[in-house]
Amino acid sequence: MRVVIAEDSTILREGLVELLTMRGHEVVAAAKDAEQLRAAVAAHRPDVSIVDIRMPPTHTDEGLRAAITLRAQSPGLAILLFSQYVETRYAAELLADRAGGVGYLLKDRVAEVSDFLDAMRRVAEGETVLDPEVVRQLFASTRQSDALAGLTGREREVLGLMAEGRSNTAIASGLFLSAGSVEKYVTSIFGKLGLPPSDGDNRRVLAVLRYLDS
């Protein structure tokens, strides 16, 4: 895959370049700030960009804002945000355009190299991948919300795994269920959240968004 990296820490930037190259990916550009990221994306049209949220000059959310503008210009542009902290507000803003192809992972996840690369691939393919920690905090912050009140404990678990971007098969093996019962839970969740079957929207993403909206 052709990858753009935006990361202001030299150690991590070089480490990521090395890692991705080692695993057969091509890092077409390594940006140090949001400005360089925008230029690199415009110049190289990468399959996916890995973007640090905190970058110069203010070290707050430059990476996130750059990602939002970039995706506003070209919807669906695959971006995997990469951060040392979880902030659910970030996730909400990122997912607000509902176009898929986004991810939000803690930097710690890079320790499980294959999982990390797998997440990057899924984002490049248009899926939504959220860090389990992000999802856990979303659950915590939406515990009292009405929209999710109707869900059973099991359904919440399944929705949580969906939010992490897992497929039904992966959820089934994770929860030791059959693929068929996962399918039933998912349908039930869609029903309770009022998401009718449709062709265009990715209902799984919409279901996750219900957390963020509620």
């Binding site: 150690i11 991590l12 080692m22 905190r54 710690d108 890079v110 320790a111």
Partner: protein
């Protein structure tokens, strides 16, 4: 023997006092005081009177505000004079907080008690300093006339000096007059010094921040500084952690993760594994260094063993040639030790950066009820407490423990920056 020594000391004290700097400075105070009070008092009174007269129209308030503001600035001048000539250090009253708007300006300025108190100071100070001038002049004249009387006796036809009714028919008595003159001259500095005690009281009472409300405002400001300082410090620590050790550890985990998966491959690429583990090892060591530096920045472990130990550690790791002298009869409280340590660290860093190649002097002593830190260098001088500068920030932080920072840095050097912090009794 002992009595001899004591007598000698007393004699030296009595004889040397007229020649000492203190007497000259106090004489200068009296001489400068009269014209400076006069020059200032007239325009002040005039402007105040016109200002009050014009209060029916807004201009009066404006003039009044400007006058009080000016008086306040004059307070700074008098404080400087008092410090240099009387040897009393008076803390400037707290700045008024200004809200935008002309009317707010006028209200804050015209209602500034420290400005009005400077006016009162000038008003009361003028007759006082005038009286002191007269007394000092008379004493000196009287003493000199008496002292020279044995010589001048021959010059006067009627044998009487033209001042103070000094008269002796017989020359043989004149040495007694001269002796009396000597006594008067020797006593003059002491009399003047005692008189100037009134000036000191007046200056301390009216030029410093004495009212309770100002003290409260001062405390509020320094508390705000303390809180802000803590916030800034915490943010810096978070940044340092985020950019340093945390990033290093992510890199370590990444390299080790890659190595772990490499072990599961069919054929081991030893060279690749070696590179990954090496690089993870380097990053882990670097993270340790960064964590240690960070921990030291939060609280230097050497400080637990006392300021002296901590400062000698600081001196040995500093870029410059630091000459350290610590003379503390007992350990100050930890909060003061900490602030003195970090002040010294910042000042030594500054001195090493701007102070030229010469040695940097660091002195910690106790003077009276205050701890004094002085950092000196032999650089080009010209350091100042400009608002927003590093020294001003340090001064603000020192103020949180009621301390103050003074800069003595004439062009061409040398620079001495001193921090004085009151010790709890």
């Amino acid at each position: 023997m002992k009595a001899d020594a004591r007598l000698r000391d007393l004699l030296r004290l009595v004889l040397a006092t007229p020649l000492r700097r203190r007497f000259r400075a106090e004489l200068a105070w009296v001489l400068v005081g009269v014209p400076s009070h006069l020059l200032v008092l007239l325009p002040l009174l005039l402007a105040t009177a016109i200002g009050i007269g014009l209060t029916p129209i807004f201009l009066g308030f404006l003039l009044l505000g400007a006058t009080v503001f000016w008086a306040r600035a004059l307070g700074g001048m008098y404080r400087g004079l008092a410090r240099r000539l009387l040897g009393v250090r008076i803390v400037a009253p707290a700045r008024r907080e200004l809200r935008p708007g002309l009317w707010n300006w006028v209200r804050a300025r015209a209602g500034d008690p420290s400005g009005w108190r400077v006016m009162a100071y000038v008003l009361v100070g003028l007759p006082l300093v005038l009286a002191e001038l007269v007394v000092a002049g008379m004493l000196l004249l009287y003493g000199l006339s008496l002292l020279t009387y044995p010589v001048t006796w021959f010059m006067f036809d009627d044998r009487g000096a033209p001042v103070f009714d000094i008269y002796s028919r017989n020359w043989l008595l004149t040495p007694a007059f001269a002796l009396l003159g000597l006594v008067v001259l020797l006593a003059t500095p002491w009399i003047l010094h005692a008189l100037l005690g009134l000036d000191r009281l007046l200056a301390v009472g009216l030029l410093g921040p004495s009212t309770l409300s100002e003290r409260v405002r001062d405390l509020e400001q320094s508390r705000a500084t303390a809180v802000e300082d803590a916030t800034v410090k915490l943010r810096r620590i978070e940044r340092d952690l985020h950019d340093g050790a945390q990033a290093r550890l992510v890199a370590v985990a990444m390299k080790l993760g890659a190595a772990k998966e490499e072990f599961e491959a069919e054929r081991l690429d030893v060279e690749l594994l070696h590179g990954l583990v090496n690089s993870a090892h380097d990053n882990a060591k670097q993270a340790l260094v960064e964590l240690r530096d960070l921990a030291r920045g939060i609280h230097p472990p050497a400080l637990d063993a006392g300021l002296g130990v901590a400062l000698s550690t600081l001196a040995s790791t500093s870029a410059g040639d630091v000459r350290l002298r610590v003379d503390l009869p007992r350990r100050p409280p930890p909060s003061i030790e900490t602030i003195v340590y970090f002040s010294a660290a910042e000042l030594v860093t500054n001195a090493a950066k701007y102070g030229g190649p010469g040695p940097i002097g660091v002195e910690v002593t106790v003077t009276g009820r205050a701890l004094r830190l002085a950092v000196s260098d032999s650089g080009e001088g010209g350091a100042s407490l400009s608002p927003g500068g590093g020294l001003a920030g340090l001064a603000d932080r020192v103020r949180t423990v009621d301390g103050r920072l003074e800069v003595d840095s004439p062009a061409g050097g040398p620079t001495v920056i001193s921090v004085e912090i009151p010790l709890p009794t």
